[in-house]
Structure formats: C-alpha cells, structure tokens
C-alpha cells in the first residue's frame, strides 16, 4: 500500500459516516422540498444513528447480534479494499457477503416480517447483482485491470467508453440506496407494507450497526460511480464529485416522480436494463478492445 492509499483508507474509515449522513441529510431536505415541505435538519441522519447507539441493547437472540456485526464489518471491509485501490471483484464479493450476513440475521429471528424482508432482499440481489458484476467486467475490458488503482490510471474518463454500464449502474444505485421500489426489503419510506422488513427485528444498537453499515456502503457505491469519471488527472476528482451530486439529485427526482413502484417492476426492469444497457456496451467494448 502506498501513502496515498493508506490515507484514502483512513479518511474512508473515519469520515464516511459523516459524509454519508451529510449526503442523506441533503437528500432528505431536497426530497421534502420537492414535496412542498421544509424537511428535517441537515444532520438529522446523524442524530438518528447516534440515538440508536444510545438506546437499550436488545436482540431477539445472540446469533442475530453476531450476524449484524459481521454485516457491518464486511460492509466496512469491502469499502476499505476499494479505497486502498484493491480488486473491484473482491470488493463486490465482500459486499455481497455483507449483504448475506444481514439476510441471515433477518432469517435467524424467525419472524414473519423479517422473513419476507429477507426473501425480498434475496430477490433484489438477484435483480441487481448481474449489473454490478457486469460493471466490474466493463472496467476490466476498458482498462485491462480489475484493480482500482490501475483503473483510475486512464487518460479519458471511463464513462465515455462505458455509457451503457454507467446507466445500468445508476439504475441499480436507486435500489442499493433503498429508495425505490417503496416495498423493498427495507425501504427508507415511512409507510411501506413490510414494517421495515429485513431490519424490522433489529433494535437499538443492533439497528444502529445495520444503519452504519449502510452509510459505509453508500460511500462505497458512490465511490464506484466516481470511478467512471476519475482519470490520472487530479482535477477529475472534482468532476467525479459533481457527477455524484448530480446522480444523487436524479435519484431523488426519480424516487419522487415514481413513489409507488413495486418490487415486481424492479425485477422485470433490472435485468432488461442490465441486458440492454450493460450487455450492448459489453459487446461493443469487447469488439473495440480487439
């Protein structure tokens, strides 16, 4: 590890929760304004998470506690690999592992809503995982490497070579950020049929850990989105940041325009988008590559 990557990992580990809270605070205010409300305070997500950790620690069983901690650990770990400039494939598989721990935690409590939530999370993973893997393949085809530190060593921003992958990846970001569909395994929207589903039986610090993991995961996903814009030129970090802000805004907009999308729609569209946007780009890229 170089000095840069060590610094990046430390910054990621220390500041991710703040930055992610800031992002989602802005997002909540923007969403409220779109709905003609004032919205919460900027750091509301931070207050929420601090509160969760200050509450009584209860868990349905001991296994649930361990599994949620493992979920949190692997979510943070996969991000750390990414910011250290490691292998994108490893990042994605570690992230999947984190996801699986959360699902196991939900199954372990043996409660109706958690179980339906866990089941939907599995379906949801089936819907978006192909696209994340394709994105990794796309990075490889256009740069010849799966390693983040080599991927960012390009002349031109990758989004030029990989517009299809980019669109597909943004599409699944909406799901990854738990925005749309509203009846996801555990959606951010207050009124949804599963009563928080997947995370429904976590409480206090346990729920805090799953929220913390989500914050780290959000930063990681935004990092991958940034990868499409970052080149060897340092100024490109600014472009990446602007792109991320725009992506966040578009996600809010889409979420507010289609607030009642159901999970069946996600299942049908996610693979279509993957096949058309990702697949076509893949074919073109592999021909150009040769």
């Amino acid at each position: 590890m170089t000095v840069y990557s060590t610094a990046a990992v430390i910054i990621y580990l220390v500041f991710s929760p703040f930055i992610a809270c800031l992002f989602s605070g802005v997002d909540r205010i923007v969403t409220a304004r779109m709905q003609g409300r004032r919205g919460p305070k900027l750091m509301q997500p931070w207050y929420d998470i601090v509160k969760l950790f200050s509450k009584e620690s209860t868990s349905v069983n001991d296994i649930q506690k361990i599994l949620v901690m493992a979920h949190c650990f692997f979510a943070i770990f996969s991000g750390a690999i990414f910011f250290a400039g490691g292998d994108v494939l490893l990042v994605l598989f570690a992230l999947t592992m984190a996801e699986v721990f959360l699902i196991l935690a939900a199954y372990s409590v043996n409660a109706a809503y958690s179980e339906i939530g866990a089941q939907r999370e599995l379906l949801q993973m089936m819907a978006y995982e192909p696209m994340t893997l394709l994105t990794a393949v796309g990075f490889y085809l256009s740069t010849g490497s799966f390693r983040v530190d080599e991927i960012i060593n390009t002349e031109l921003p990758l989004v030029i070579k990989m517009p299809g992958f980019f669109i597909g990846f943004c599409f699944i970001l909406i799901v990854k950020f738990r925005k749309s569909p509203f009846d996801l395994s555990t959606s951010h929207h207050a009124h949804q049929e599963l009563i928080k589903g997947l995370t429904g039986d976590l409480s206090g610090p346990g729920y805090g850990f799953s929220e913390l993991a989500e914050l780290y995961e959000e930063i990681l996903m935004l990092g991958i989105a940034g990868l499409f814009f970052i080149t060897s030129d340092p100024i490109s970090f600014l472009w990446a940041f602007i792109a991320i802000v725009l992506i966040m805004f578009c996600m809010s907009l889409i979420d507010n325009i289609f607030p009642r999308v159901k999970w069946e729609v996600l299942l049908k569209t996610a693979w279509l988008v993957t096949l058309f946007a990702g697949g076509m780009n893949l074919v073109i890229l592999s021909y150009i590559g040769k």
Partner: protein, 173 residues
C-alpha cells in the same frame, strides 16, 4: 446529543372510535411535516421511542398493547391520546373494556380531549420529549430502567392491595 432530536413514534389504535386516530394521522401527514422535528412515524415498535396509544384497552387487545410496549427498547415514553386512552372514556362501562392504557402499561403523558385536538397532541408530544430526555439521561447514569408490562401489573396489584388495606384501617378506626 439529546435523544429528543430524533424521536420516532409508533401509533397504535386500541379500541378507539377512530376519531382520535384521524387526528393523530392528520398531525403526522406531510401537511404538518413532523419530519421537521426529526419525527418518523415508524410502525415498528422495535424502532420506536414514543408510543401513541388511542382508545381504551379491551380484553382482546391487552396482550397486543403489552407486547408492543415490551418490544420497545429503553428509553421510551407512552402517550395516552384522547379521553378513551386516558381512562376508558365513553366506552368505560362496556363489558369488554378494561379501562385506559394505564390498566396494562405505564403511561407518561395523558392527553385529554374527545377527539384529542392537534394542539393538545403536539403539546403532549413536547412534554413526552422532555420526559424522554430525562429518562435517557438517567439511563446513561445507570439509574433507570422502565418497568416491563409484567412488572407493571405486579406493582398495580400491590398498590391495589395497599389501597384495600388502607380502607380496612380506616374502617377499624
């Protein structure tokens, strides 16, 4: 950080006539934007800090009220919304009604009214937030743990006996 900056609430309809529920729901619609205060209407007892209970407790839903209360992690406050939740109200003498919310779980704030007025409800929630902060402070110092519903039932029994005993003494004198 004070816990009242992020109060998540749970609304449960006991055996109300729905008058109070409509008021509670109206107060949590986007029109009034309770998210301004960090309030989220969760619908999940495990995530909730404030328990808004409307309507009296009847013989069928008493276990539900107990379970919801027990599933909420400390610190937590209970608001009895409307006169039915305070003491049974207009349904008090029905064969199936046990009484107000405090017949099964400890109540922190009583909000009267039939139906409860939004102003009174907001006032009640503000009071509840203060209590929530106090409880959380005490909890941090390790001085506080709320009663479970079973412990509460025990303590009710004891006080009832006490009252009976006091009555006897009076008679004797």
């Amino acid at each position: 950080m004070r816990i009242s900056k992020s109060p998540w609430l749970l609304h449960y309809d006991g055996s109300s006539c729905n008058g109070c529920d409509i008021e509670v729901l109206a107060a949590t619609t986007p029109r009034f934007d309770v998210e301004r205060f960090g309030i989220i209407n969760t619908g999940n007892p495990r995530h909730a800090d404030i328990f808004l209970c409307t309507g009296g407790v009847n013989s069928q839903n008493q276990d539900v009220v107990r379970q919801i209360y027990d599933q909420m992690p400390d610190p937590k406050v209970v608001l009895a919304c409307g006169i039915c939740a305070c003491d049974g109200g207009i349904f008090k003498d029905c064969y199936n009604i046990l009484g107000g919310t405090d017949t099964v779980i400890p109540v922190d704030v009583y909000v009267p009214g039939c139906a409860v007025r939004p102003e009174a409800l907001i006032d009640g929630v503000v009071k509840a937030l203060k209590i929530l902060d106090e409880k959380s402070e005490k909890m941090k110092r390790g001085e506080y743990r709320s009663l479970t519903s079973a412990e509460y039932a025990e303590s009710l029994k004891k006080t009832d006996n006490k009252a009976e005993a006091a009555g006897m003494e009076e008679k004797d004198a």
